[in-house]
Every structure is written in C-alpha cells, then in structure tokens.
Amino acid sequence: MSTSVGVPAPATPWASSRRLAWLTIRAAVPVAFLGVLFVWPLFEVFRRTLDGSDDSLELLGRPSTLRIFRFTVGQALASTLLTFLIGLPIAHGLARYRFFGRSAVRAMVVVPFVLPTLVVAAAFQSLFGVLGLASGRWDLDQSLLAVLMAHVFFNIAVVVRVVGGFWTGLSRRTVEAARVLGASRSRAFREVTLPQLLPVIAGAALVVFLFSVTSFGLILILGGPTRATVETEIYRQAVNRLDFNAAAVLALVQLGVVLVLSAFAGKLQRRFAGASQRDGANHARPVDTRSRRVHLVGVLGLAAVVVGGPLAALIERSLRVGDGYGLANFTGLTDEIRLLPISPMEALGNSLKFALAAALVASLVGMLASRVIVSGGWLGRLLEAAAFVPLGTSAVTLGLGYLLAFAAFDLRRSVWLVPAAHAVIGLPFVLGAVVPVLRSIDETQRHAAAILGASPWRVWWEVDRPVASRAMVTGAGFAVAVSIGEFGATSFLSRGADSFTAPLAIFRLLSQPGDVLRGQSMALSVVIGLVVAVVALLLEFRRGDGVSVL
C-alpha cells in the first residue's frame, strides 16, 4: 500500500478522501472475506477443541506423528517436482507454437481438476489393469508411484495454464538478444527465461504443493491403507477417535507449515518480480520447420500419455453397458434414481450454479486483493500469505469451523455455505494467476497515469486490466473447475437437496453394488469433465489472441 499512498495527490476530481475510500474498500473487502469465511471459523475450531493439555505435546513428539508429517511434506514435494518436470515442457510447447487444436489441448488439461478422486482412482486402476501394471513385478496398485502419477494428472493444468499463459506473454527480445550474442538455447533459457518465469513458478508450485498436501481420497485409495498423511490423520483423530484436541493440534501444525511456505513463496515472487519483461503480445509461432514439428509432436505425446491415458480409461468405462458399449449410462442421468435426493443432472445443475457464484466472488475478491498484494506493505504481504492457506487446510477443519462459527446466526444450513467455501478455495488460483502478471507491470506506468489525473479505478482499468485480463480469465476458470470438483469440504458441510452437487452424487452412486450405479457415476464424471472442457474452450475463443477481454 505504501507506494500507492505515496503517489502525489493529483489535482483532479479524485480528491484524497475518495482515494482513501477506494483504498479502504480495496483492502477491506479481501480482509473481510477471508476473515469471515476462513479466519473466524478456524478460530472457533481451535477455541472449542484445543484443551492445552500435555497430551498435545506428547502427540507432536510421537515418532508416528513425525513420520506422518515427513511423509506428507515429502510426497507433496515429490508431486510438485514431478508435475513441473512433466508440465513445463508441455507448457512451453503450448506457449510457443500456434497450431490447430492448441485450444483443445489447453482445455483438456483442465478436465482432471473437476474429476472426483474416487473416479480418478478407478480410472488409474483400470489403466494399470490394461497396461499389465496391476499385478506381478510392476504392481502399481497401492503404491506411492500411483499417488504421484495421479497428483501429476490433477495438477498439470496449473503448470500448463498458469505458467504457460505467463510464458506466452513474455517478451522475446531478451532471449533473442542472448542468442545473437552467442548463448546456447539452454543457456538462454537458464539465464534469461527462467528468472523471468520464477515469480509465476513460485505461485504455481505453491498451489500444486498445497493441493498435494491436502490430498485425501487419492492417497487412501491409490496409496493403500498404510500411507497416512496429516490430512487422513486429522480425520482419523476427529471422527474415529473423537479426539478433537489431537485433531486440532495436528491442524494447527499443518496451518503453520502452510503459512510459512506461503510466505516463502510470496517472498520468492517479490524478489524476482522485476525480472519479467512482458509486452502483452502473443509470441506463439507457426510450426513451420521439421525440428519444430518434432518438438511439438513430442510435447503433445507427453500430454497424451499423462492426461489423455486416464481420461481415455474413464471414457471407456462410462460407455460400458453389459458386455458391450452404449450410451445408456448417459441417457439415464436425467432420471430420478433411488439413493439420490435429486437426479444426477439436477445435481450437476447445482454444481454449475455454485461454481459460477464461487468463481464470481473469488474473481472479484482476487482482483481487489491482487492490487493490495502488488502494492506491497505489510498488509499486502499478510494477505498474500493468508489467501493461500485455505488451499492447504484440511476439509475436516474447515467443515467443523463452518459448523461451529455459523451456528451463531443459524446459518449452518444456508445454501450459501457451499459456494462460500468454494470461493475461499478458489481465491488462491485467481491470485496465483494474476499477481505475477501485475507484478511484471512497471510501477511508473501506474504513477504516470495517476499523475495525469486518472482515478485509482481508471489506473487499474487502463494499466493493469489489459495485461492481467488473460490471467484473470485463467484464474476464474480454475475457480470454476475447483468448485465443480470440490468434495471434501462439501461433504462435511450439512446440506439439503438444494446443495447436493455432482461429486456428492458420484460418491453416493458408488456406495451400493450394481452396474447401473457404477456406469452412471462414470458417465456423470465424463459429463462434468466435458462441461469444464467446453467452458475452458469458450474462454479461450472469447479471449482471442492479443485482444483483452474480461
């Protein structure tokens, strides 16, 4: 905030009192949002469940607890590393080349994001079966490798779209200059491109890491019963042992770890922020030489294996009817079915409504918060670290928090709780995409605009928005996808039929034996995947190339 406040007050209709009002709103909205929907519920949980007994310390000192924390952080680090190792080449290929189907590939990578873990696990298991990896020497079922593969599948979209989107807008001039001066391609990447990408990589890595830290279903199903994480342990202590104190102690430590990491990623982002040179233009080039064709085919092949494989397995299962194939599982989705309070399609309707509401709120709050964050100051740094924490908070903690906090206004059953929780989880995605882009804008541009008499809103509209709109769309798209796919917090909140979402329907369908139920759960998963792919495609086309749209 310090920089903005320090701008000399221009002689314009924008008197200082209005400027102050604007600055206050800009900061107050995100603070109130996180305060009401995250900090307060968490505070209530800790206030009501921590008893300050010696048991808490004893629990933390236990070798098994340490082992759980080590494994949780270890698998999340490995997942993040692997996701970037595989995701960066794909992001690079998609950012660099213009080719037919590019939008479709970019849309496809988002699909995993909305798929419920139960279904993804089933798709992986059936893929392992087809590839002969389900038994014998290369048995991947219930292995750490299976978990890591699934995490890559889930998170690769963050790398491809957030890092890739940033990459597309990077100015090519410095790289070309380095190449002209004799730098090899890899040296130019290492010394010119990579430093410019670091801010966005730090943000994206944090998102992937937090997503992997709180992974629950995939670890239990693909990793097998021996692999406990902090997330599963919190659940076990709270629900199985009814030891709320132990659960709260673990949640508090989890919170601390996540907060420290968020602050560190923010620091990294700020440190390298000045390095990026963006000109907002689209630098994608045609695939016109043999070497470029080979490169592109390799990149697309990688994407096809990592993302396309499990998706193909899922589609195959959704089409299986009896001993053959057909569309019966899809046509049945509109029918009322026992077990579910509403038809699967109506549940999908709820999911879409919630996703739109959550994405809208996350985008608006994110837009305001990103300006505060970029302006710097203690509030900006605090907001930056705090906004990412919900993503690394266990669903049980958040669910219990809402239960306790919103009892105060008898809002526990409000239909708004679900989209509100989704907006909180969606916010980090908006910030992860937008903040690095805003940081790459030279602050003198904003100063110049302000001195020439533009209101803060106008400055944002003329300077920030054109550059950030692409990132805004990316972030909002992620918020939609995250909301559609969210299961953990949704299932823990108490809700009636009007809050019954598609992932809940899929979970319920898979709770009894029967071909119809399994078939429909797979079909519904394919449908929500398709919906998200279409949304991603539409955003892509509406935006066009080089035209800023929001």
């Binding site: 019963p225 026992r338 009892a407 206004f409 299932s491 319920r508």
Partner: protein, 371 residues
C-alpha cells in the same frame, strides 16, 4: 462484456464509478451477506414467528446414505402439518462427531443414522432426549439397545462377506468365518481398513465375536499371511478389487443386502444375483434415530420418531437404503424376499464393549495387518 479498448478509454468515468461501486457492493454482499441474509434465524423475540417456526417445521439430520422415495416425508407433513427438512452431512461417524461437537446447539431436531457401533458415543455425549414411541411394540426387543429409550431403532442391516459365485475356488464357497483364513480363500479376499471404513470395522467386530479376545489376532495374522487385500473404503474394495468392479478378488466384505442391489441395479436385468453371502460372517448393524437435546419442538420431534417407525416410512426403507425395517409388522419388498437372505444368528457385541475397546482393537489390527 466484450469492451474494445476504444470504448473503455472514452470519457465514461461516471459510468465506471457507478460500476466500481456496484462491484464493491456485490463483493461486500457476497463476503458479509452471510451474516445478515434472508435465511438468518427468525427473530425469537417475536412470539408469532417463534411459535410458527417451532410448531410447523422440523429438521431431520441424517448421514449421506439416507434416502427416501419422493412423497414419503410429505406424507408426514400431511398428517401432522409439520414440514420436514432433511439435512445430510457426512457418514455415520462424521454425523455423530458433529452432533457431539455441537451439543446444546444442535443442527436439527431429530438425528437419524447412529448405529450400534457408535451408539455408546452418542449416549455418553448426552446428546439425546428420551422418548418411548408407542410403535416400539412392533419392534423386536433385541433391537432396543438403550433401556432409557434415548434412541429408537429404525432399521437393521448386516455386514457380511460376499462372494462372486462364478469365480470361487474349486472347494466351493467358505462355510464358516474360520474357513476364510484358509489360503485358498484368504488369497482372494478383499476387506476394508476398520479405521477408515464402517463395514471394515463391523467385520473386525464379527471376528472378535467369533474368536474372542484371545483368538482374533491369530485369525487376522492368518488372513494376512494368506494374501488378503486391504483397501481404505467399501467402494474401492467392491468396485476396485472385487470381481464385480473388474478386479480379481472373489470374496469381499460388503452387506447382506448387496446381492439384492446387484439385481435391482443390474443392466441388463438379471434373474439371480451373481453374488452370495457367507452367513456365518455377518455382523448386525442397527440404526437408530433420536431426538436431539436442545430442540425447541419436542412434541413435533416425537411425532417424527413415530413416523419413522410407521408403515409408510418403514416400507420405504429397503429399496432406498438397502437395509431392513425394524418394525416387524412391515412386509419386505419382493426384491428382498426373492434375492435377499435372512441372517438368523448375526454376530453382535454390546455398544459399551465396542466403544471401550475401539481404539485398542483398531490399533492392534493396524499393527498386525498393515505393519
């Protein structure tokens, strides 16, 4: 929303200002509206509002597996004038944990879905108000586990080992629980971790009932050495490792009613279930409903408990939740009489025993099977 650059640079700042204010209001409403939305609690100081809200509306808190046919709860509204809002929130364990945590400020008036494996927790937590429904006459005494009637039995189901009939070993199906430990069965058996799965826990209890404190650990050691598979939850066992879902295990821990569901949800339709049930392995789960302490509408809540035991609700239970009615006067649907199986001597342990030993038993199980 597509605004070209030219349009936006035109002198439209008044419009922009209005928009910015609108946007700010929207965000504020979204962020803070939850504290003052239209769904906020009715003003209790207004006697009319308070009276009508307690008199004509009830909230039924259930686990996620609760399901009824359309019109069933409406039948209650017709006869009593009370609207029922059904709210689900997690599985039975989560439901009970949440009820205990919100004791005194309950989320609803009546809770449905606490079973005998969690019952003691609910009783120890003092979350239920006693009520003896007149309809209890039709419920067998063995289902009434609380002498003080703080909870009322609503339905009964059994957790049993199922088999895939076409893929059994040459020896045929196992006949006793002890048979399962034989290598030919153990190697093709998939069950669930009792720490993360309710049927998994029920099956552990069945083995403790059969082999006793001294014998159950040896049985599980034999199962483990025989090559049994363990999953986290029911669905990854049944739909993952069991043959029904494309896996290669021929035996799975599931429910006595699973063969019925296999027929009801078959596609294309089938005449007989592809699965069978090991009756000696069955552990009985009884699900209860109770009036939550702190409700303002005790009379209405009591009517709702009566309704849950009535023919209308009880006859709707089997094909929705795949458990059997607790009311012995209610007939079972055809799918259950044709394809279901009655478990005459199910295994059981008292709620006190279960709660007192839960952590110890599951800890020892983890030590034996997973370490």
């Amino acid at each position: 929303m597509t605004l070209s650059k030219n349009l936006s640079t035109a002198s439209s700042s008044p419009l922009l200002k209005v928009r910015s204010i609108l946007v700010a209001c929207l965000v504020m409403a979204a962020a803070c509206g939850s504290t003052s939305g239209p769904e906020a609690a009715p003003d209790a100081s207004d006697p009319e509002t308070a009276a009508s809200s307690t008199g004509t509306a009830l909230t039924l808190l259930t686990h996620d597996s609760f399901a009824v046919s359309e019109g069933t709860l409406e039948a209650f509204t017709e006869e009593s004038g009370i609207e029922v809002e059904q709210i689900a929130g997690g599985d039975a364990g989560e439901l009970v944990a949440k009820a205990i945590l919100t004791k005194g400020q309950p989320e609803g008036d009546v809770l449905f879905g606490i079973d005998n494996t969690f019952l003691q927790r609910g009783l120890d937590g003092d979350i239920f108000a006693p009520y003896e429904s007149p309809t209890l006459e039709s419920v067998p005494d063995e289902f009434e586990l609380d002498a003080e009637h703080r909870v009322t039995p609503i339905d009964v189901g059994d957790v049993c080992v199922n088999w895939w009939t076409d893929s059994l070993p040459e020896e045929g199906p196992p006949e006793t629980l002890a048979d399962l430990a034989k290598p030919e069965y153990a190697s093709t058996f998939v069950t669930q971790n009792p720490e993360t799965s309710s049927p998994g826990f029920a099956f552990l209890l069945a083995t403790i009932d059969e082999f006793g404190e001294d014998g159950w650990e040896q049985f599980w050691t034999d199962l483990r050495d025989g090559g049994m598979t363990v999953t986290a939850g029911w669905n990854d066992a049944y739909y993952g490792d069991f043959i029904a879902g494309g896996g290669d295990s021929a035996l799975v821990t599931s429910y006595a009613s699973s063969p019925v569901a296999e027929v009801v949800f078959a596609d294309p339709p089938v005449d007989a279930a592809p699965t069978g049930v090991l009756t000696d392995s069955c552990f009985r789960q009884i699900e209860f409903a109770g009036i939550l302490e702190g409700t303002e509408n005790v009379d209405g809540a009591q009517l709702l408990i009566d309704f849950l035991l009535s023919d209308t609700f009880q006859s709707d239970i089997p094909l929705n939740m795949f458990v059997e009615p607790a009311n012995a006067d209610v007939a079972l649907p055809e799918a259950f009489t044709d394809h279901g199986i009655t478990i005459d001597n199910p295994r059981t342990l008292t709620p006190e025993e279960i709660e007192a030993n839960r952590s110890d038993w599951t800890d020892r199980w983890v030590e034996i099977v997973l370490r």
